[in-house]
Amino acid sequence: MKEAYVKLEDWIMQYSDHLYSWASYRLNDPELAKDLVQDTFIAAYQSFDRFEGRSSEKTWLTSILNNKIRDYFRKNKHQIFSLNEQSGERNLDEYFDSTGAWKPEYRPSLLDEDQALLDVPEFRAILYGCLDALSDRFRKVMVGKFLDTKDSTELCQELGISASNFWQILHRAKLQLRNCLDTNWFKTS
């Protein structure tokens, strides 16, 4: 496994900062972020033969880290906000009636001009919570768009979906994310 170690040393130099900043962003705890980055490299070393080069090294490491972060949240019962439905990938019929109109409970709240989404810590906490409540696929589409300025073609490849599929997934992800924020923020503040 000497070969794997040499490769890993190289990856630590190249990618640990990126992984660390991503982990601290998600966890908001530098020490915990360091631990999970270390765990990520250890896991990468242990499952090195399973890295097939189908995704980039960075993507592979990031996906290991994301699993660690999710495990951490799960173990520590981080979900402090309410989702009014199960958090799976909901069908569009949940949001719209047979004529295609918004169902009353899913209608976007009509806000005053000055009631914009507030960029305050409390809101960010809910935003993270709502992002975490999305299914894996949804979250990857929502967040992946902004990471590494990936273009949508590359992102589709990584997720193994077609472009039209990407748009449909994004549609559902945004319906769900917006509704989660609406329920947990607008309607309670």
């Binding site: 900062d17 900043s21 270390q38 949001y95 004529t99 209608r107 902004f146 924020l181």
Partner: protein, 92 residues
């Protein structure tokens, strides 16, 4: 609104379709027909107008938080050394 809604949807768009176009617009842009349909729909539908605005704001906030949080956070050389040492323990 009750009576008008179904009629509006036949000639213009349903909210279901309009919300899909809103997402498409933000990612890929719309053609002339889609763009006109969406404009008409929104002129009559306050909910889809609110949907578009809120989704734009959420996108912007996600982009902003990710950019902010990702910049300027690095591991010290000592931290990286520690990771290498932990790995070395596994190499036999």
């Amino acid at each position: 609104m009750k009576l008008i809604t179904p009629i509006v949807h036949v000639f213009i768009l349903s909210c279901r379709k309009a919300s899909a176009l809103i997402v498409k617009k933000q990612e890929f842009g719309l053609n002339q027909l889609e763009s006109t349909q969406l404009k008409w729909h929104k002129s009559m539908c306050q909910y889809c107008t609110a949907f578009e605005k809120q989704v734009e704001e959420v996108d912007e906030l996600i982009r902003k938080t990710i950019e902010e949080e990702l910049s300027g956070k690095v591991l010290s050389d000592g931290d990286k050394k520690k990771i290498r040492e932990e790995l070395q323990k596994l190499v036999k």
